[in-house]
């Protein structure tokens, strides 16, 4: 089943990516702000040069011509270049993407590693002391925005205690173990902030999903088989309760990326999110377009992953 299914799903993803790119392009074109705005106020640039530049980049053409031009260029691998730094957009993105992926990936792993055991244990004994403590922390966790917890951590661990660096840098000197150690040290705070925030809301989903499954008939059947409560919980309850959670994690990825933009900004993580923010502040349209498009591709990709995992976890779903 899965190869045909994957192929078909990938083919379906193509038109949706076209649609997304069209919407993004139109919105950006209609948005106020002009990449050459700075040149207007710059007395050293004569108006005719400015007009010539606009004509050269085709900025005065109708939107649809500009879109088609952008689309064909992009399909050929030419994503344009930044109006600010003159660096190619794809180079910029490729420089930044690994850092973002590492931080988001690590924080998601952290979130899942906290949420699943805590959620399952809380649901196994609902309204117990552990459950109430877990619920309280989960509530606090997802009520506090990342920009608050981020600043709090910086204040405590960097400013007061001076244990961790509060600026994330890709220019760490050295190599091998010392390099890795520094990299891990500077990743601790951003990963913790993002991971705990994600984990807190995930705990509640895991808990309610487990509570739903634990009272089902087949769990009673499993108990009647005398295989022990731990096996009942892990093999029969958790296995089934995780099916909706997997979908949720994948579908939450857009929100995670959104949250990462803020976190990257706080910790000065040179990731794709901070690239997007600085590009927006500078009206750097090609970069904004490129980054948002990469975000869209990632979201579509994670939806596909969710579907595949769903079919793999639940045999009742036929992937056709």
């Amino acid at each position: 089943m899965s190869r045909d299914f994957l192929l078909r799903r990938l083919l379906i993803a193509i038109p949706s990516l076209f649609g997304i790119s069209l919407v993004l392009f139109v919105v950006l074109a209609l948005a106020p702000g002009d990449p050459f705005g700075e040149l207007v106020t710059n007395p050293n640039v004569p108006p005719e040069v400015r007009l010539a530049l606009r004509a050269k980049f085709g900025l005065d053409d109708p939107i649809w011509i500009r879109y088609v031009r952008w689309l064909f260029a992009m399909l050929q691998g030419d994503w344009g270049f930044s109006f600010v730094s003159r660096v190619n957009v794809d180079t910029l993105i490729l420089q930044r993407l690994p850092t973002t992926m590492a931080v988001i990936g690590a924080s998601q792993v952290l979130a899942i590693m906290i949420a699943i055991p805590v959620g399952v244990l809380a649901a196994a004994k609902p309204y117990s002391l552990f459950d109430q403590i877990a619920n309280t922390f989960a509530f606090i966790g997802f009520s506090l925005p990342t920009f608050f917890t981020g600043l709090l951590l910086i204040l405590v661990f960097s400013v007061q205690l001076n244990w961790l660096p509060f600026v994330f840098t890709t220019e760490i000197r050295g190599s091998g173990w010392p390099w890795l150690w520094e990299y891990v040290r500077q990743s601790i705070m951003p990963v913790t902030v993002l991971g705990l925030f994600q984990g807190a809301s995930l705990v509640r989903y895991v808990r309610s999903s487990v509570l739903e499954v634990i009272k089902l008939d087949y769990v009673t059947t499993a108990r009647s088989k005398g295989i022990g409560e731990r096996k009942v919980l892990v093999l029969h309850v958790v296995r089934n309760a995780l099916i909706p959670v997997v979908t949720l994690v994948a579908l939450q990825m857009p929100i995670v990326f959104g949250g990462a933009i803020v976190t990257e900004q706080i910790f000065r993580v040179p990731g794709i999110g901070s690239l997007l923010i600085s590009a927006m502040l500078a009206n750097d349209t090609p970069v904004i377009m490129g980054v948002t498009f990469v975000f869209s591709c990632l979201v579509v990709l994670f939806n596909l992953i969710a579907d595949v995992l769903y079919g793999w976890l639940d045999p009742r779903i036929a992937l056709r």
């Binding site: 059947t221 499993a222 009647s224 088989k225 005398g226 022990g228 093999l235 089934n240 099916i243 009742r316």
Partner: protein, 323 residues
Amino acid sequence: MADPLLDIRDLKTWFRTEDGLVRAVDGVSMSIGAGETLAVVGESGCGKTVTARSVLKLIDMPPGQFAGGQILWRGRDLIPLPPAEMDKIRAREIAMVFQEPMTSLNPVYPVGQQIAESLRTHEGLSRKAALDEAVAMLRLVQISNPERRVHDYPHQFSGGMRQRVMIALALACKPKLLIADEPTTALDVTIQAQILELLVEMKERFGMAIMLITHAMGVVAETAQRVVVMYAGKVVEEATVEDLFAHPRHPYTQGLIRSIPRVDASATVRRRLEQIPGTVPNLLNPPEGCRFAARCGFAVETCRKVEPPLREVAPGHKAACVL
């Protein structure tokens, strides 16, 4: 009966709810000998299922609790048994088939794996040996092409077939007692007969005892040797099948028997099917005296005041009625 396999004595299983204490099972006694089929009958909500689940300790605690009594399995009381000891009795000595075949199997595992699970735990079989045994069990419960079907998932089976799988699963470790909790209620009539026939056949083959929970008197007549009639958390009558159908003593039992649809000669006289008026009383605060008094056509003043004890009215025949 010399030495009963299972001897339930004065069992009280209560549930603490927001509205108060529900005495779902309130002083129930019954026993099952080796190889015997005991039917437990009564309307919905009279405590049959709670009694059955109490035996395997499948009641969620809280809200449930054992408020008293004993469940003696071959002389050993199961109630104080720690979970690890209880797990050794489940499936291996006492197994259970549930009411809802559609939801009683885990949807994410092939049926063979689910049958093999208890075999691997209790008999230490390898994955391969346990799966072979699962195939043999599926063949025994007359599922065609078991070598292939063993890898199928529950949703690929019909309701009747799933109940066969459930029976195979329950019997895999050759238990000495099978508790069948309304095994045919969720199935259509033709399938019901097949499943009952299969249960009887399996009983003869393995020589196990069956505790058959049902609300259908017809099912009782076909399969059981002895019957316990329950009403509102109590046993109201206990007798052999022949005795019970020939001389029902308790008005509730009489009502149950009269409400069996008949297709013989008397049915040619157009007559409305009889029913017992009223509903089962609320177990939150059961009425004083006989719990059936409010629905009983013979009730007298004392019935509403004094609860009649279960007493022997004839050899091997007990009833809880003053009449």
